[in-house]
Subunit: 238 residues, 2 copies
């Protein structure tokens, strides 16, 4: 890790707790629009489940690169219909505000403190599939001290496409091996390593709730393995 | 200005004092490489003079969009030759470091304090022709508290091309009239206003040295006119 100049981070699940936050944000909307019987956590999971298939249409070229705020909004309407709620009756203003639930995700408890330490030694930025407006609003609300907002929209490619990692190194004007990805997801790290990036695994064993079965530990010998962001900062000498 | 959600700023001249900073950074390089007779401020001016023509080649499509760090480096070699110095003899490592003079520009004395106030109420970001790596390094060194790094590289267009302004609003997912440009240059503000942006003029009467003859005051009735960034923060209720 001696050559590393910048660490870029997966955000959903790694830096922020999307599941509890989207559930919390969705609860009052569900209550207002006839969805009192729907479990907000199940709703959050259902919304998130449409995330990968929506991006896949962009990855395969079926549709041009489309920012995640728009995919989230399309998916919201689909999930509402799946739960027997009519988006048209809910109305534009409510749907737009509901969709911004993804702008109001809370960081894991130690994430901001850990990132603040890491920022002393490294350039830190998101390498998220979230778009610039989403990441900027989230960071501003949560106090995440990014040096820059990078990610899929800057690269015009969704992870795990190689371009997402390689173009991020390119805009930072550093070599891939001078860039490290920090993520709670082995698949993301594998794709980054294949592009020549350094890799840091941060364990998030409850991202998907109490019964999480995936990504409970590292699947490979990543360059760093940390229990959380404070541990990552310590292991990187910050 | 009531609808404004984000203020983006010109950087060279508006936020940072490029002339004195590039002169200071260039002085030891000139001394080391046989340029003791060259006035560092005149050298900074000569380097900056090649800025617009280099970007113009990208604007007109003569060459593809090329990030400013690369244009600065090409221009450095040209300016050195103009002053009778041989870039080849100076060598790659020294040239690369000299070029990073543009990463080490100091803010005007009140700029960081003013931006810190503005950040409470607005999203703040650079809308500079400087590239992402340059703006990120500069902000990190100088403590400029940007919410995101936007600008020419994100828009893939150099100001005053309309795309530079319009795509910046687009990535922030706001209307052009919800975006304000802050700049010390009337031409930049005119181009922004033509795209529907709000405009804030900040006076920088010594950007070009003690004999500056341009941009000493507003050329039009901009939405806000401020004497500096503290004054701008005050006038916008921050």
């Amino acid at each position: 890790m001696d050559n590393v100049k910048a660490i870029v981070f997966d955000v959903f699940g790694t830096v922020v707790d999307w599941r509890n936050s989207v559930a919390r944000e969705s609860a009052p909307f569900l209550a207002r629009h006839g969805g009192t019987g729907i479990d907000p956590h199940a709703f959050a999971d259902a919304w998130r489940k449409r995330y990968q298939p929506a991006m896949e249409e962009c990855r395969t070229g079926k549709r041009p690169f489309t920012r995640l705020d728009i995919l989230h909004r399309e998916n919201l309407e689909l999930v509402l219909k799946d739960h027997g709620l009519d988006p048209v009756r809910i109305g534009e203003a409510e749907l737009a505000e509901w969709n911004r639930a993804w702008h109001r995700l809370d960081p894991w408890p130690e994430a901001v403190a850990g990132l603040t330490r890491l920022k002393r030694k490294f350039i830190i930025a998101p390498l998220s599939n979230g778009n610039i407006a989403l990441m900027t609003a989230m960071a501003k609300r949560a106090g995440i001290p990014w040096d820059a907002i990078l990610g899929a929209e800057v690269a015009q490619a969704y992870k795990p496409q190689p371009e997402a990692y390689l173009r991020t190194a390119e805009v930072l004007m550093i070599r891939p091996d001078e860039l490290c990805l920090g993520a709670a997801h082995n698949g993301d790290l594998k794709a980054a390593r294949n592009c020549g990036l350094k890799t840091a695994f941060v364990t998030r064993p409850t991202e998907h709730g109490p019964d999480q079965a995936t990504d409970l530990g590292p699947s490979e010998a990543w360059d760093v393995v940390a229990s959380d962001f404070q541990d990552l900062a310590r292991k990187l000498g910050c």
